[in-house]
Amino acid sequence: MAQTPSNAQSNTASPDAAAQLDIFRRMLRVERNDDATRAQIRRGRITAPYYSARGQEVIPSTMSHLMTDEDVICTIYRGIHDMVAKDMPLRPLWAEICGRVDGTCKGKGGPMHLTHPETGVMVTTGIVGSSMPIANGFGWASLLDGSKRVTVAYFGDGASNIGAFHEAMNLASVWRLPVIFVCQNNGFAEHTRYENGTSVDLISKRAIGYGMPGYTVDGNDPFDMYAHAHVAIERARNGEGPTLLECKTFRFMGHVFGDDDSYMTKEEKAAAMAIDPLPRFRQKLVDSGVATEEQLAELQTKIEAEVQDAIDFAFNSAPPPLEELRRDVFAEEIPA
């Protein structure tokens, strides 16, 4: 795909075999975890709203492969794939989704506010657009620290129409911040089709208005993602400033668990699912000799065990005590 607006150069870096395998590992971890989450919801064991990112695995898996452990992300309600791809441990993730005291946020944040600084998951927001201005703060801190840390802000196509997007893009550019704005363009904002809310054919064109490079990338293709993510990360790391990556993809499960998809045609959904990036990439790995069927099956078994372990851990964890309402409001506990 890689439609590039006029201000962008072409990008050619390509993942080697190990990189491909690592990207696939992350994708599979995301997908297996998502599958298990939906299964638990169907069984009535999880009651929270769930925004599946099934279909969008390539984007954070490729980004995360290229990020170091110091690099951080700011993400959104539809962001569990971003966290799992960033290798956030599954036990505290599941415990959080189940509202348990061993959750990464002690059960107080839930799936929309998962946080795990150790793996660089700094903010998860439920407010459309709000990941971006906050990401700039981490970018500024990198400059102040004199560190090479890169910050990735994830957001959706619909979010590109809200004020926070604009303000964040402009500030990042004026201040040359090491931030990468990764728009996961799945073609819909809740029930609204891209073109009914967004005034430009390519979101990447908006980068022109910020004097920033912008690329439209096939977000379902790890090679195209890799090439562009590589350029963006290098740019940020070298102090050359921010980049906007518009990564085209599709969400297979609608906006929120239970969504009836009435606002899209069966055909377009079927067409999107027919090119499901996960089996496609898996096949490619086997065909190109990067991995054997056995290797991949083993990987899958390992991941499934990790997921099952996390589920068991979560459901064995206790609900948080009521005192938690008085804790973490401020650093100092609120007296009873």
Partner: protein, 335 residues
């Protein structure tokens, strides 16, 4: 046929809102409805509340918008000043935080700042309420901010009849109205007259008569107060439940008359108690009824924290019927 003799319908608050929107659009071609996903192309709203409107009234009067609450409110203000009556939806109350300038600095002030030349007859519909584990950024009750803002009315119904009647009035009101839908109670069916008409803003409703203590409340907490009243009745305490319906301007006369009668008052809301809207009501009662109260005015609201995710915490966050009943017993015990 008068309302009294007509057979009552069963309807949820959501259906009542939908009915009010259909009726208002039908009766007044100046009424517009818009917001994220509200048109039928987008399924008529994420909750389906506006379903059918765009098919009936056309895509120009019923419009889905981009995710851009400032521009939603701005368009509402401009269209209102140009003679329309826009009903703008902010999907959830927390999202109103990105549109505060438009509402507070503009919608609420333009009539005053223009010396009466401009008018902004908009209705802002928004949904909120804890209880669905949507956590810290999807369930807040911020009505106190708007009650404190001069120039905008704040309406928060509790019954299907009120959802319809108050929304009809809000839409026809010549000034901005914030119309708050509560997510716990809005989908619960209740009785409503088939021809339910406008209900005046600013008038409270005595949801239940009583003589020992007055529970002053609105929105989702009316249900909890009624449950508390039932419990209290069993304990020999007669509670009067006042559903304010409109928080700003609130019906001081009805509240003061009731508290003068009972001598005891508890103000109950879902919003955080600290500097919450209940404080205004408590402060007014003590001022106007000084020396006539048998006990101090109590306030119950959410604790000072964000809405928590875990069910057990969320339940503790919300004022429960037993919290209200206990407070009433305590007051009764004091004098």
């Amino acid at each position: 046929m008068s309302t009294d003799t007509m057979e009552m319908l069963k309807m949820t608050g959501q259906q009542a809102v939908s009915a009010a929107l259909f009726e208002a659009m039908e009766n007044d071609p100046k009424v517009l409805v818009f917001g994220e996903d509200v048109a039928d192309r987008e399924g008529g709203g994420v909750m389906g509340t506006t379903r059918g409107l765009s098919s009936k009234f056309g895509d120009l009067r019923v419009r889905s918008t981009p995710i851009a609450e400032q521009s939603i409110m701005g368009a509402a203000i401009g269209a209102a000043m140009a003679g329309y009556k826009p009903v703008a939806e902010i999907m959830l109350m927390n999202f109103i935080t990105v549109a505060m300038d438009m509402i507070v600095n503009h919608a609420a002030k333009l009539r005053f700042m223009s010396g009466g030349q401009s008018q902004v007859p908009i209705t802002i519909r928004t949904l909120t309420g804890a209880g669905w584990q949507t956590a810290g950024q999807h369930s807040d009750h911020y009505e106190g901010w708007f009650a404190h803002t001069a120039g905008i009315k704040v309406v928060a119904p509790a019954t299907p009849a009120d959802y319809k009647g108050l929304l009809l009035s809000a839409i026809q009101d010549p000034d901005p109205v914030l119309f708050i839908e509560n997510s716990r109670t809005m989908f619960v069916p209740g009785e409503i007259a088939p021809d339910q008409g406008p209900i005046p803003l600013g008038k409270a409703r005595i949801a239940q008569e009583g003589s020992d203590v007055t529970l002053v409340t609105y929105s989702g907490m009316v249900a909890n107060c009624l449950a508390a009243a039932t419990h209290l009745a069993g304990a020999g305490i007669s509670a009067e439940v006042i559903d304010l319906r409109t928080l700003s301007p609130w019906d001081k006369d009805t509240v003061l008359a009731s508290v003068e009668k009972t001598g005891r008052a508890i103000v109950v809301h879902e919003a955080v108690r600290h500097f919450g809207p209940g404080a205004e009501i408590a402060a007014t009662i003590q001022e106007d009824l000084f020396g006539k109260l048998k006990a101090p005015v109590r306030r119950l609201g959410a604790p000072y924290c964000a809405v928590p995710f875990a069910k057990v915490l969320e339940d503790a966050f919300l004022v429960q019927p037993m919290d209200i009943a206990e407070a009433a017993k305590e007051l009764r015990a004091r004098g």
